[in-house]
């Protein structure tokens, strides 16, 4: 170790010599560190609906490689594990109902008075994203990206690109983006032909094969720094979906025009059911506005979104976040979100026996008339070595209603759109290296 101590002494001797040269000791100790090159963002999300409905455990990681001159490559990986059951579209009855499973190979029974749920809702989803982002010239930047995801019965592949330009000493930013995607469905047992009746176990005569849809999204926006404390932004987005837009696992009950009860089946299932049918195009327009206000380190974030589509759904979302720092490196952030939408033009609780079939019909509760409220609290803290942790707990409540004119006879006595409550817990960990 003789060499070691002699070597180290060069640094010490140099410090002494420098002190003599400059006529004073170094007034400060160097504090230097290399800018991190890697940014890891990981999270674990639990989403659980009450009454044994959907449960999702989602593990997500985004890795960003930071190059100099603001060039960034990012790669994301998400693994979702979905379990539970989801409403099938059939309505409650005072007697037990039997249904053929989507596979066509078995049947299941829903007790009298219960909401028919499809309990085969179980899937694992793997999604990846990759993107490259870099400045373009003095005041612009662009990004190009890829997205892909795979579930048992679903494949998504997409490409996206965006461009942003700063004006007005970087106080104004105009941005635009486009994404295209192709989604392929290969439903369990084959996609049922629209409006065909649910058949008995083993009968696959109404099943088609796989199907697909094309999705185009375009967004254009502006963000503006109003003052040191206030930033506002507005985005318009256009979305077009074409192709197979049905949910192959959803169907409707065919009911008696007076009693509202589902017609008893004569072959196969206990009651008469028909698979849903949606238009093969959907165009959405939405407008999003947001303001962020910083007052002494506390940040208020308010946003509003209006969406309107050609399925006649209009929705409004108001969201509020308030981030309050406290202690050395901690913050808490209450969150409130209110959402409302009216039902799609073809939303239908049930189909009428004997009447001509409508052009389209679906009893997917997500196309119904509902309000939803999310309330939550996030708590975050920074640890040493550039890492940040947070925990977010939120409660979600959805309350829907069926348009009065759609309710027939005995249906009025049943809860046709049960409330939905969900708990959301998210743990996030971010670190840089």
């Amino acid at each position: 170790m003789l060499t070691g101590s002699r070597q180290t002494s060069i640094s010490t001797a140099l410090a002494t010599a420098t002190c003599t040269l400059l006529g004073s000791a170094a007034p400060s100790v160097v504090i230097a560190e290399e800018e991190p090159k890697w940014d890891f963002n990981t999270s674990l999300l639990y989403y659980g609906e009450d009454k044994s409905r959907v449960r999702d455990l989602s593990l997500k990681a985004i890795v960003r490689r930071l190059f100099t001159d603001d060039r960034v490559f990012s790669f994301g990986l998400t693994l979702d594990s979905l379990t539970g059951a989801t409403p099938s579209g059939a309505i409650r009855q005072d007697v037990a109902q039997t249904f053929t499973r989507p596979s066509g190979n078995a049947e299941y029974t829903v007790p009298a008075g219960s909401l028919p749920l499809d309990d085969t809702f179980l899937d694992t989803r793997l999604a990846i994203t990759a993107a490259w982002q870099q400045p373009y010239g003095e005041s612009s930047q662009f990004s190009v990206g890829f997205s892909g995801s795979k579930e048992y019965d679903y494949l998504h592949l997409g490409l996206n690109g965006s461009f942003a330009k700063d004006f007005n000493k970087r106080n104004t930013t105009l941005s635009t983006g486009i994404s295209i995607a192709r989604d392929e469905f290969d439903p369990v047992g084959g996609a049922p032909l629209p409006f065909t009746a649910m058949l008995a176990v083993g009968d696959t005569s109404n099943r088609g094969g796989s199907d697909d849809k094309d999705v185009l999204d375009i967004v254009a926006g502006v963000s503006q720094v109003i003052s040191r404390n206030l930033v506002v932004q507005a985005n318009y987005s256009y979305s077009s979906e074409k192709g197979y837009l049905n949910n192959p696992y959803k169907f409707l009950s065919v009911v008696d025009g007076i009693s509202g009860d589902t017609i008893i089946g004569t072959a196969g299932t206990s009651h008469v059911l028909r698979f849903e049918n949606r238009p093969d195009e959907r165009t959405k327009h939405s407008l999003y506005t947001q303001a962020k206000y910083n007052r002494g380190g506390k940040v208020l974030d308010v946003s509003y979104r209006y969406m309107s589509d050609d399925w006649d759904i209009d929705s409004h979302t108001v969201e509020l976040r308030y981030r309050v720092p406290f202690g050395q490196d901690k913050y808490y952030e209450p969150h409130l979100r209110w959402y409302t939408q009216n039902e799609a033009e073809f939303y239908s609780l049930s189909l009428l026996e004997g009447a001509a079939l409508p052009l389209y019909a679906s009893n997917d509760y997500r196309l119904g008339d509902f309000d939803a409220l999310t309330a939550g609290l996030k708590f975050g803290w920074t640890t040493r070595n550039n890492s940040a942790m947070s925990i977010r707990v939120e409660w979600y409540r959805q309350v829907g209603s069926i348009p009065g004119e759609q309710i027939i006879g005995n249906q009025a006595e049943r809860d046709n759109y049960p409330d939905l409550n969900a708990l959301i817990v998210q743990l996030s960990y971010r670190f840089k290296k």
Binding site: G4, Q7, T8, I10, S11, A13, L14, A15, A17, T18, T20, L21, L22, G23, S24, A26, P27, S28, V29, V30, I31, A32, E33, E34, E35, T68, D69
Partner: protein
């Protein structure tokens, strides 16, 4: 200083920024005028043209000479302020002109601190020997400028003389200054270093070399042989309390050729080496 010099300050007014810049600039010019070997009538010129006579130097020059002597001994003679005349036969312009052994031997006759007699405040060089503070001057000027700015103002400043730099402290609204290290000389930063306090200095210039018969000669010369140091790094950046320390550590590391990283690691220094 032979390179672009800049001062970044977070002054609140243009007048304050001007004052800060002019203080740093005057100190840079003072040191340049006094110690540049390219100027006539300065102390270096008097020493180098003394033809073997004794020259009495002022306090500041004496301190620089003391410092050079200390470095000479710490580096086992590898750091030598008399080695500048080797540049007469070595021109590192990316070309292929390698001097002959005879040419090197001739000029090497004038190299070596043992040919000087330093008896503070009197310096006597053998005739034909010259000194050059080029290896110290820039870093010394940065530290001197920063010292003056620290005394003068609380305004956060960064003084950068040709890539050797020091700060007076962290910027006001950010934890650190972001400094890109362009080791390749191509205009992009290889690394970005966040500097809150202290200094950074870089040795090496990957554009300065000679290449002949497949051999690449670095511009770092060994004063013992008169030939380039083998396996020298393309560039070495060191972080230290003062720019002088950072600069000397990067120079000493450079002189160790292939052993640069090992040397700096042993010294427990923060460094970034590009090969």
């Amino acid at each position: 200083m032979g390179s672009p010099c800049e001062v970044l300050s977070e002054a609140k007014t243009e007048a304050a920024a001007d004052e800060i810049t002019s203080v740093a600039a005057s100190e840079a010019w003072r040191i340049e005028d006094k110690f540049s070997r390219y100027r006539a009538d300065n102390v270096v010129d008097r020493i180098n043209s003394a033809e073997g006579a004794c020259v009495e130097v002022d306090e500041e020059t004496a301190r620089l000479l003391d410092f050079a002597v200390r470095l000479h001994s710490l580096s086992n003679g590898m750091f030598d302020i008399t080695s500048g005349i080797l540049r007469r036969v070595w021109t590192f312009d990316g070309g292929s002109l390698v001097p002959s052994e005879e040419e090197v031997r001739q000029v090497l006759g004038g190299v070596g601190w043992h040919k000087a007699r330093w008896d503070r405040p009197v310096l006597q060089l053998q005739a034909g020997v010259e000194i050059d503070f080029g290896g110290i001057g820039k870093e010394y000027a940065v530290d001197r400028a920063v010292m003056q700015l620290r005394e003068m103002t609380d305004t956060p400043c960064l003084v950068n003389f040709g890539g050797d730099l020091a700060v007076t402290g962290p910027p006001r609204h950010r934890p650190a200054w972001s400094i890109g290290i362009d080791g390749s000389g191509l205009g992009n930063a290889d690394n970005v270093i966040k500097l809150s306090d202290g200094a950074l200095a870089t040795s090496g210039d990957s554009r300065r070399f000679i290449e002949k018969d497949g051999i690449r000669y670095s511009h770092v010369l060994d004063p013992h042989t008169g030939w380039p140091v083998r396996d020298a790094a393309a560039s070495i950046t060191v972080a230290a309390d003062t720019c002088t320390q950072a600069g000397m550590l990067s120079t000493l590391a450079m002189l160790r050729g292939g052993g640069a990283e090992a040397f700096l690691s042993e010294q427990n220094e923060q460094y970034w080496c590009r090969r």
